[in-house]
């Protein structure tokens, strides 16, 4: 039987919700735990109406107890459930860090491989709402620095759907970071298509002059910059990592080798960030091919302000990516 492709236009938010619905329908062991996920429908509306469809037993409103919620998910996962926690803001991950880094991440290893912790923590990060220093961060590097935790960050609507479903089927804990600036993004989802495998980066644009490696909202900024660069005769390859653990270096390698120029773009801060890891790998593995230093375009090493003008000035934008690329050729 040939399955037909079903292309549906929806928002990033709806794609996430659809992924939860489809996965919950398929696997009765999936439960959702989090603050305001039930009656309120999620602070950003992702879990809207799920409580009506799946009931209070599976969509559980919790007190404001992040450490306890994540810890409960660890125990539930070890007891045969597939918990999906919604952490309202990634900024609250500090409160859950013991449960994530010392418990969830280490249980399989410490206990000699007896059991895994198949849970997902969905959360969202990033700037764009004047939400201030404690509600606007990009903290993926915290997670990447902890072996044992998987990390996915969807940039597109299609990935919001497929990556979340894949995350919910992983054998190990996955931190799934959405971007608050993408929830209303519209795009097509092919519900029946075989998605790109988990852990594989996507090449969204091909060009011979430069490769830009990025993820999450900066993918869109990089694509915008690439259009402008093309007007100047510079053709960029854009790679969307999709997952940051695992990192798909094999997709990056040939593009760096071909173009000899690599830029890494992140909204998260520069120092000890995702870009640092990628730049190090590129330089180690592709050193002989490079014509220019690998350039990191990243968030400033500062907290995020509530003032819109300062907030915007704290993170990369398309112009900054474009200008940096031009400098790499001057």
């Amino acid at each position: 039987m040939i399955e037909e492709n079903i292309m549906i236009e929806m928002t990033y938010r709806d794609a996430l919700r659809q992924a939860l619905v489809d996965q919950m329908s398929q696997d009765s062991n999936v439960i959702i735990l989090g603050e305001e996920v039930g009656r309120y429908g999620g602070a950003y509306g992702v879990t809207k109406n799920l409580i009506k469809e799946f009931g209070e037993e599976r969509v559980i409103d919790t007190p404001i107890s992040e450490a306890g919620i994540v810890g409960a998910a660890v125990g539930a996962a070890m007891s045969g459930l597939r918990p999906v926690v919604e952490l309202m803001y990634v900024d609250f991950i500090g409160m859950t860090m013991d449960q994530l880094a010392n418990q969830a991440a280490k249980i399989r290893y410490m206990f000699g491989g007896q059991i895994g912790v198949p849970m997902v923590v969905r959360t969202q990060g990033g700037t764009g709402r004047s939400a201030g220093a404690q509600h606007s961060q990009s903290l993926e590097a915290f997670i990447m620095h902890t072996p044992g935790l998987r990390l996915a960050m969807p940039a597109t609507v299609n990935d919001a759907y497929h990556l979340l479903r894949q995350a919910m089927a992983q054998p190990d804990p996955v931190i799934f970071i959405e971007h608050k600036g993408l929830y209303t993004l519209k795009g097509e989802v092919d519900l029946n298509a075989t998605p790109l495998p988990w852990g594989k980066a996507a090449v969204l644009r091909q060009g011979d002059d430069l490769v830009i490696v990025t993820y999450s909202r900066q993918v869109h900024y990089a694509l915008e910059a690439a259009k402008k660069l093309a007007e100047n005769g510079i053709e960029a390859t854009i790679i969307d990592l999709r997952t940051l653990n695992p990192i798909d270096f094999e997709t990056i390698r040939p593009h760096v080798e071909r173009s000899g120029r690599a830029m890494v773009v992140t909204e998260s801060v520069l120092t000890c960030g995702v870009a640092a890891e990628l730049a190090a790998r590129i330089s180690e593995e592709c050193f002989d091919f490079l014509h220019e230093p690998i350039v990191r375009v990243a968030g400033e090493d500062i907290p995020i302000s509530v003032s819109p003008i300062l907030e915007k000035g704290s993170v990369p934008n398309p112009q900054m990516i474009e200008e940096t690329a031009l400098k790499m050729f001057s």
Binding site: G68, M95, R129, Q134
Partner: protein, 349 residues
């Protein structure tokens, strides 16, 4: 217009005290209404603005018992508390607008307003985040023997956070001059208190740690003020406490929330617990002021608060170069901008 902190020398239950507390509450309510207006006019920095309308008695009543050197932290719904401690509404509004003239130069905003000069160690956007700092402030007060106390203001939702219990235990263990003041407006976002705990008698938990503990109704600011006085006096004598003040969150959680999860009947009932109206009626009943005089007072406050919006709109954005200021002490070098760094790296070929 008097924008200083409540004059604690005015004796409890006295006529001028009734009026003074009413004034503070009216100023809070009017200020919060103007915050709503600032948002509606798209002049606020974002929409994460949490109004304390319905909770004015907690702020006015509790702060009436505090002394000028006392320290405090607040939660994200802290405009009223700060006003009651003597904040300048213009500098507050400018901060809420993300302007350079604000208390925190536009960097903090509504949820991170602070003023060390007034003992405000900071509002917080992390539920429970500001609570343990008062344990430290209490240790410092004791160390310096300065007679001050420290108060943590937080919402009922923060009782879900483990850090509250760690802080309460240390405060009780070390007999620190601190008070935990829980403003129970019955909701944490869309979650009603009885959906977040099996025992909503919150003060009972504090009692279990050995803290002086009580819940008072927030309808009558005078009742709140009297309880607060007892708790502050006890704390100053080395008996820390936990005071819960019951009230009702009149409007949505933040500016975009219309509380669709609330029963309209419950909401109408809840809004009847209006401490500002109650105080106004008391004043009339006691014959201290008549309607006309109170209207005149309200108008004066309205004018003052209208001016905060005009002031805010007229203020400048923070300069872009301030981005790198105050990450570290002024004596330290500022972090290098990413752009500067890129230019440096790519310049020499």
């Amino acid at each position: 217009m008097n924008s200083t902190a409540f004059d604690a020398s005015i004796s409890s239950g006295s006529n001028s005290r009734h009026v003074e507390l009413y004034k503070i509450m009216r100023r809070i309510r009017t200020f919060e209404e103007r915050v709503g207006e600032l948002f509606a006019r798209a002049q606020s920095a974002g929409s994460m603005l949490h109004l304390s309308i319905g909770e004015e008695s907690a702020a006015a009543g509790f702060c009436a018992a505090m002394e000028p050197m006392d320290k405090f932290t607040t939660h994200h719904r802290g405009h009223g508390i700060f006003l009651a401690r003597g904040a300048d509404p213009k500098k507050m509004m400018a901060e809420i607008g993300g302007k350079e003239a604000g208390y925190c130069r536009g960097k903090g905003g509504s949820m991170h307003i602070a003023d060390m000069g007034l003992g405000h160690l900071g509002a917080n956007a992390i539920v429970g985040g500001g609570i343990p700092a008062i344990v430290g402030a209490g240790l410092a007060a004791r160390h310096k023997q300065d007679g001050s106390i420290a108060v943590a203001f937080f919402g009922d939702g923060a009782t879900g956070q483990g850090v509250l219990y760690e802080a309460m235990n240390m405060a009780a263990l070390w007999k620190l001059p601190v008070v935990f003041c829980c403003i129970n407006n019955q909701y944490g976002m869309g979650t009603r208190i009885d959906q977040a705990t099996a025992n909503p008698a919150l003060h009972e938990r504090a009692a279990a740690f050995g803290l002086k503990a009580e819940t008072v109704d927030g309808l009558d600011v005078e009742v709140v003020a009297q309880a607060a006085q007892e708790f502050c006096d006890a704390a100053r004598a080395g008996n820390p406490g936990f005071l819960a003040i019951d009230c009702y969150r009149f409007y949505g959680h933040a500016r975009k929330d219309k509380s669709p999860y609330r029963d309209p009947v419950e909401e109408a009932e809840g809004r009847k617990k209006d401490p500002v109206l109650f105080s106004r009626n008391q004043i009339i009943k006691l014959g201290l002021f008549d309607e006309t005089e109170l209207d005149a007072l309200d108008d004066e406050i309205a004018e003052e608060m209208d001016a905060t919006i005009d002031f805010t709109i007229a203020q400048a954005e923070p300069p872009l170069m301030s981005l790198f200021r105050d990450v570290y002490a002024p004596s330290e070098p500022e972090p290098e901008a990413v752009r500067t760094r890129i230019n440096r790296i790519l310049a020499n070929d």
